[in-house]
Point group: D2
Amino acid sequence: MKKLFCLVALLAAAVASLSAQGSRVVADSIDSRVLGVTKNFTVYLPAGYEDSGRDYPILYLLHGAWGDHTDWTRSGNAKNIADELYASGFGIPAIIVMPDASGEKPDKTGFRMGYFDKEGWPYETHFFEEFIPYVEGKYRVRAEKKYRAIAGLSMGGGGSMVYALHHPEMFGSCCPLSGLLGTRPVAVAIDDDFTENIGRNDPQDILRNATDGQLDSFRTVRWYIDCGDDDFLAHFNVQVFLLMKEKQVPLQFRMRDGGHTWEYWQSALPSVLQFISIGFGE
Amino acid sequence: MKKLFCLVALLAAAVASLSAQGSRVVADSIDSRVLGVTKNFTVYLPAGYEDSGRDYPILYLLHGAWGDHTDWTRSGNAKNIADELYASGFGIPAIIVMPDASGEKPDKTGFRMGYFDKEGWPYETHFFEEFIPYVEGKYRVRAEKKYRAIAGLSMGGGGSMVYALHHPEMFGSCCPLSGLLGTRPVAVAIDDDFTENIGRNDPQDILRNATDGQLDSFRTVRWYIDCGDDDFLAHFNVQVFLLMKEKQVPLQFRMRDGGHTWEYWQSALPSVLQFISIGFGE
Amino acid sequence: MKKLFCLVALLAAAVASLSAQGSRVVADSIDSRVLGVTKNFTVYLPAGYEDSGRDYPILYLLHGAWGDHTDWTRSGNAKNIADELYASGFGIPAIIVMPDASGEKPDKTGFRMGYFDKEGWPYETHFFEEFIPYVEGKYRVRAEKKYRAIAGLSMGGGGSMVYALHHPEMFGSCCPLSGLLGTRPVAVAIDDDFTENIGRNDPQDILRNATDGQLDSFRTVRWYIDCGDDDFLAHFNVQVFLLMKEKQVPLQFRMRDGGHTWEYWQSALPSVLQFISIGFGE
Amino acid sequence: MKKLFCLVALLAAAVASLSAQGSRVVADSIDSRVLGVTKNFTVYLPAGYEDSGRDYPILYLLHGAWGDHTDWTRSGNAKNIADELYASGFGIPAIIVMPDASGEKPDKTGFRMGYFDKEGWPYETHFFEEFIPYVEGKYRVRAEKKYRAIAGLSMGGGGSMVYALHHPEMFGSCCPLSGLLGTRPVAVAIDDDFTENIGRNDPQDILRNATDGQLDSFRTVRWYIDCGDDDFLAHFNVQVFLLMKEKQVPLQFRMRDGGHTWEYWQSALPSVLQFISIGFGE
């Protein structure tokens, strides 16, 4: 029985690869003076990045507790999802940077886990003073508020929201997914230190205590908050929804079916990419 | 210029009408002894009702304030939406009954508006003691909890929820849309009487004060609550969401983009019909 | 019984109107030298148009047979749909222009119906030589291919496709909905003249007979074709899909549930607005 | 630093596991007399199967070329998708059986790959005479046409369609996804034998050559066909769509964005489960 060359399937594969031509996931790292260690990060470069010569919008996409900078591309299927959305003409291609805020323990928790400054581990300082400048110097990024978005899931949803509240002048859009957006009662009591650190960076406190000027600056960020109706963090998300309404900070809020799962975040990512695209393009 | 007979278009129209064959919207009425007046109502009979000879599940679909029994088919496009969903194979055809809870004023508000009993206008009594028996006697209805659903928008969202809380033994599924699901602070202060009447029938009070036995009975209802993120009643809906979670009464909760508009309710109706279909078919 | 002032509802209405602030539907007209008559058209000006002082992208949105320039805002709910999409942050606000290609008969058919040139009624010439220049001179339009899109339903789906094939240098995106995208066998035999005129402007013929250079120019247009699986024009749409694949002209193609109905076109419009927005913003 | 017990997260996990309580994926096998070998298969038993004591509807879910009975639960995420859909109240829980039609080679192709009978490997005979009876005897299945559905992807899409055409009296619903629904020109020329075998079981031939009586029997099956607009098998799917329209065999047809990928099939599965649920429940 003679084998035929599987022409059509090969052709199809070729077409498929073309549609994602040039999209690459790059493992990169930064020697952090602030933290005293080398931190890894992952970069998604959209199709055509190498040849286009032009600058791109950027999305910082944060992982959750027990995770690291490889989560979104491994469990989150971020490369395929972004490739497909961009190929379909429903999103403006962006560089997607996935930083590492994991801890030092084998399960990726520990003292160093988290997005906020603490005594001896000033992660947020590192993020704004070292990481963003490094990334936006190395890659061809349109380094302006309008073209910079931030999103994240769970602990990274909280991180993205607090970062955008601390630096509304930096981010055009912010999209917390299933975000750890509060601390009372404690939601994820990994250890005292984590709880305390999160507690000092409660987005609801920031919103509640904001001056009129701060509220005005929050209104310059495009907010998109999405959380599943079965999520154990759902209450924090609806609290933030009510609080932002009360403070008259416009936001998009979605509650879809689902829990604190990768299925939810995978199905959320296309909408995030669409939403931030409109911010880039307006 | 000779005219041709427009064959294909006619054929298409014929096919379209076939796919909705027999679906009818009927204007009906009931002489209410309880209320001392004749009340109108609208009935959607699914395609094939006349010929099938069999009994059907039933959905009571309630209108909002300033509305009446003709709203859902006029502004809500309910006939076309149901026809299309049933034709697509994504819903189990049901009889849809749209009652009238409008008031006596030209703008359809007034003393008689609303779904609850008040001195001199015992509408809820009428609904359960007269209306349901009349409808389910006249039309071929599978008159069991499993095959009976209730849904409604705004004031009718509140009505549907309170009816299902008052009579969990009657309804398999309950789907409040953009529901007036609370009263503090008052949301729609049409007049003192309305406010007071709604206040005596606050679903949050019912949930908060429920005995364990009542909570158990609430758990026999399939709940689907949907409200837009721009809706001025959104806070009531998220309050009910949190309260049902706290009371461990399982529910589906959705918050999509939109306000207190017919666009929202039209886009909600297919999901309502799908959700109640699974209840009918399980 | 004292009436209270309905504060909250008013507030909600105010907020709702704010979110759509400035969006206006304008009735306009042009004295056509080419056609020798005055033609009406409808213009949607997005929220903030008056005050912004800036130029906007533009969408030409074409009606179907038996229709006119008022269809999309009346039956198509285009104003509310555009308002809501733009308010949600999922679309880049555009001016939407709805021209009139209706005929002279009471049912809006007749010799003058249609988007193509015929002896004594050179509509397409009028469209490109008079109408577009007039509109883009009068309103603040970013008058470039990238910022110009065209879409339409049924006869207007065919019109939009043929216009973009005749003038690929003019349109960044083209979105035919339930389009009359072929003529063999005849689909809508209104009269001999219509059939013949459509037949001379068959998009499949244009694609089939295109030179390599023309095909290249077709590839500079972003195509989004959407047709219901119950539509009597579905076969034309899948024929065009196969033909564009064969000719390697990339396109987005969608077949959703539904027929040749306003429900279909209303549910299609948000995706059209999202798709063309990415073209505007890239 | 004292560690706290991570109460809330544990609680959430417990709740999550409850919502999927009892859902199990079972590895099973059958000693085939017809094929002379032991064939493995995978079974999804919905939550509560063990305790309910009642019979369930059944879905046969077929894999594609280069795959086997473990594909849908591994790459297709079928367990989580089914769990979530059923928990949300949008589907009637069914037993899902995933058979093995892989070949004998390391890459799972080879002489034995495929769903059809061939000299020396009568797989279809095995499927209908041994496999279905065995499965429906061993598990608590409602063994009637109404409660039996079949679906599959790619080669399994073709398999599911041909099985339902060969045995319309057996299946209430049939849902080919990205199906290999034709053979001219050959789509996947793995080897001569495969091509020839598929060619003898071309669903388009079956439809084209069907008697009126056969066509009538095809109309007793609820058809849902879904294929991505970037799929290299898209042309076969639209051909079948046109052919079934021509033969007046009603079907649902969807063409969404995407290619021949697990992302597509994962996003298709919820609709398949919803569609077959209505068939079970009608």
